[in-house]
Symmetry: C2
C-alpha cells in the first residue's frame, strides 16, 4: 500500500519514519530492513494496545518475541519501571543483537526508549507510536526518559530509533479527546515552521476531525518532517535551536502544573499556551491582532481549547520561574513573528505575561 | 610541575588525560579549561578518599560544590545508588551546565559516569581516578554503568568524560595488594599492543613496585595511550576491535565467578587469566614456551599471581559459556601471536581450554 517516508539525517544515527494507513501490515518487512538478521525482539507495549501487540507478535514469525506490558499513564515513567524492564530483558537474555520495540504513546516510547538506551550500554530501538501526540512529536527526535519525583523527564538519554512505523489506522481506537489534543502539536509546527501546513489545517479541519486517512498521513508526515529538520540542526539540544519546538510550552507547562497534572491533556494545555503566547507577541508588537485571531480560529475549528479558567495568573508566573529552562539561565519565550517563524524573546515584563495569560481566561 | 598529556580523539567527544605527580594541585586550572564558566560541580567520591574530596572542594573556590559520598565496594554499582545520585543532583538543582566529578576507583567512576550520562539526558563528566586500575583502565574509554542482580555492568551508557585528571600521588594511600593488582592491566597493554612497555616493566619492576613517580607516570601514560588507540578505533564496541582489551579476561571472569567475587582482586584474576591464555596459545602453536615463561616471569616480578588452586577447571569452562561475549555468538579467545599482537580465536576445544587452566593450578 502507499505510504510516506520521512528521512531523519543524523549521520550514522540516521533513520526513516514510515507513515501510512495499514502500514503495520508491512511491519515485518520494514523491521527486517532496519535490523537485518534480527532474532530477538522485546515488545514493550501499553496494556491498552494489547491486541495490536499480539497482532505484531503473530506477524513476526521466525523472530523470538518477548512481550512486556506496561500500565497506561505517566506513573509508568519511573526508574522502578525501567528497572523492571531491564530485569525482564536480562531474564530473556536480551543482548545488543536484540531490538526493543515500543508500541503505544509517549509514556511507553519514553520508558522503553530509555530502557533500550541503557541496557548493555545501548540496544537498537524501534518506535511504533499509536497516539497522534506520539506520532507527530515524541517518537521523533531521540528523547527518551523517565521522571524523578517532582521533575519530568529528568533521567534519560538521547537515543535515536532505527525505525519509526506510524500506522494511522491505530488512531481509530484512540479516544476523541486524545486525538484532538494531539492536533495542537500539528498546529504548532504550522506556526513555527510550516505556513502551508497551517493553511492545510484551516482548509481540511473537517476531514482531519473525521480522521480521513489521507489527511492524517499528510499532516503526520509534514509534522515529522518539520521535527526532523529541527532535530537535525540541534540533535542534543546544545545550540538552542531545538527550543523552537517549545512554542506555547512555557505557558502550557505552567498551566499543567498549576491546574494539576491530568486536568488538561498536554495538547490542550499547549493549545491554550499558544493562544497566550500569541497574545503576548501581539502586546509586544511582534504580530498583529489578525494573527492572534487566525490562530485562535484554527485551534477552535479543531475543537481545541483556547481558554482556561480557575487558575491564578500569578501562580502560573511563579511556576514558570521553576521551569527547567529557567535553571539554564533566563526565562525565554518563543514568540511568533509571522506564520512559519518564531523568535526567542527574553526579558519580558511580568505584567505583560500576566496580561497575556488573562487574555486567555 | 611537569605532567604528561594523552589525547583521546573522538571527534566532538575528544578529551585529554593529564597524568602527573601532584597533578591535582593544578586541578582548578585543568577543570576551568575543560569546562569554561563552570558554576556548579557535583563531587561524587568514594568515602575512602574523603580527605581528597575535601581538598578538591576547598581548591574549587568560586564554584558551588555538592558532595555526594559513595560507600566503597561493588555493591554501590546499583540502580538504587544511581537513583540516589539523581535525586541528590535534582535537590541541588544540577543542570546541564553542572559537571559531575568522579573521585575514586572504578566503582565510583562507573556509577557517577552513568549518573552523569543519564541526568537531564547527559551532563559533563570529569574523572579523577585514584586507584591504579581505574587510572590505566576504567576511567578511559567512556564505559559507564551499574550492575543488575547476576549481571555486571548490564545497565549503562557510553559517555566520554571531558577531562581525566590522574595524580600518581593518590596511589600512595592505596593498599599494596590493590596497587599490584592494577599492574596486571599494564602488563596486558604490553602484550596486546606495546612491546616496549612490556620491556620497560621487565627492566623497571623494582622502581614500579617502589612507586617511583616517574615510572608510574610513564606506565600510566603508555597504558592510557594504548587504550585511547583502541577506543578511537571502536568507540561503541561495534567493530569488535575493542575486544582485544579483554586479553586474559575470559579466563579471569570465569575464575572470579567460580572462586566467588572478592576471592581474587580483578587484576589478580586477569594475571592468572593471562597466564592461562598464554598456555592455551602455546598449546595451539601460536607462541612458543619462551613467551609463556617470559610473561610469567614479568607477572611474578611484579608480585602478581599466576596460579590458582581450589577451583574446578570444568566449573570454569561452564562459567565461560555464560559469559556476556558468548551470548553474542561464539566464545572467542584473545590469544597472543607475539609480544604486542593478539588474535581472536574461536572454535577452541574444551579439552585444550581445560588443559590450559590446569597449567596454571
Amino acid at each position: 500500500m502507499p505510504h510516506a517516508e520521512v528521512s531523519v539525517r543524523l549521520g550514522e544515527r540516521s533513520y526513516s519514519i514510515f507513515i501510512g494507513d495499514g502500514l503495520l501490515d508491512d511491519f515485518p518487512g520494514l523491521l527486517a530492513n532496519a535490523q537485518p538478521g534480527l532474532k530477538h525482539a522485546v515488545l514493550v507495549f501499553d496494556e491498552n494496545v494489547k491486541p495490536l501487540a499480539e497482532d505484531l507478535t503473530a506477524r513476526l514469525n521466525g523472530i523470538r518475541v518477548t512481550q512486556i506490558p506496561v500500565r497506561s499513564g505517566e506513573s509508568s515513567k519511573s526508574i522502578a519501571e525501567a528497572q523492571r524492564l531491564w530485569e525482564a530483558m536480562l531474564a530473556e537474555r536480551a543482548d545488543r543483537q536484540s531490538v526493543v520495540i515500543a508500541v503505544g504513546g509517549g509514556v511507553v516510547g519514553d520508558l522503553a526508549g530509555f530502557a533500550a538506551a541503557s541496557y548493555a550500554r545501548g540496544v537498537p530501538l524501534v518506535q511504533v507510536p499509536t497516539t497522534l501526540l506520539s506520532q507527530v512529536d515524541s517518537s521523533v527526535g531521540g528523547k527518551t526518559g523517565v521522571n524523578l519525583p517532582g521533575a519530568k523527564n529528568m533521567v534519560g538519554a538521547f537515543w535515536q530509533p532505527s525505525l519509526v512505523a506510524i500506522d494511522t489506522a491505530t488512531l481509530q481506537s484512540l479516544p476523541t479527546r486524545e486525538f484532538v489534543s494531539g492536533l495542537a502539536e500539528v498546529v504548532k509546527y504550522g506556526v513555527i515552521l510550516l505556513p502551508e501546513l497551517f493553511e492545510y489545517l484551516e482548509q481540511q479541519a473537517p476531514a482531519v476531525l473525521a480522521q480521513d486517512q489521507a489527511a492524517l498521513s499528510h499532516l503526520i508526515a509534514q509534522s515529522c518532517g518539520a521535527k526532523a529538520r529541527v532535530v537535525q540542526a540541534d540533535e542534543h539540544e546544545t545550540s538552542g535551536r531545538r527550543a523552537i519546538l517549545n512554542y506555547g510550552h512555557t505557558f502550557a507547562h505552567a498551566l499543567e502544573s498549576v491546574a494539576g497534572y491530568g486536568t488538561w491533556l498536554h495538547g490542550e494545555a499547549v493549545s491554550i499556551g499558544m493562544h497566550m503566547a500569541a497574545h503576548l507577541a501581539c502586546a509586544l508588537g511582534r504580530v498583529d491582532t489578525d494573527f492572534v485571531v487566525r490562530q485562535q480560529q484554527l485551534l477552535e475549528a479543531l475543537r481545541l481549547p483556547t481558554r482556561c479558567s480557575d487558575v491564578s495568573p500569578t501562580a502560573m508566573w511563579d511556576a514558570m520561574q521553576n521551569d527547567k529552562k529557567v535553571l539554564r539561565g533566563q526565562l525565554r519565550f518563543i514568540l511568533p513573528a509571522k506564520l512559519g517563524h518564531v523568535d526567542f524573546v527574553s526579558d519580558v515584563d511580568r505584567a505583560e505575561v500576566l496580561a497575556a495569560i488573562k487574555q486567555a481566561m
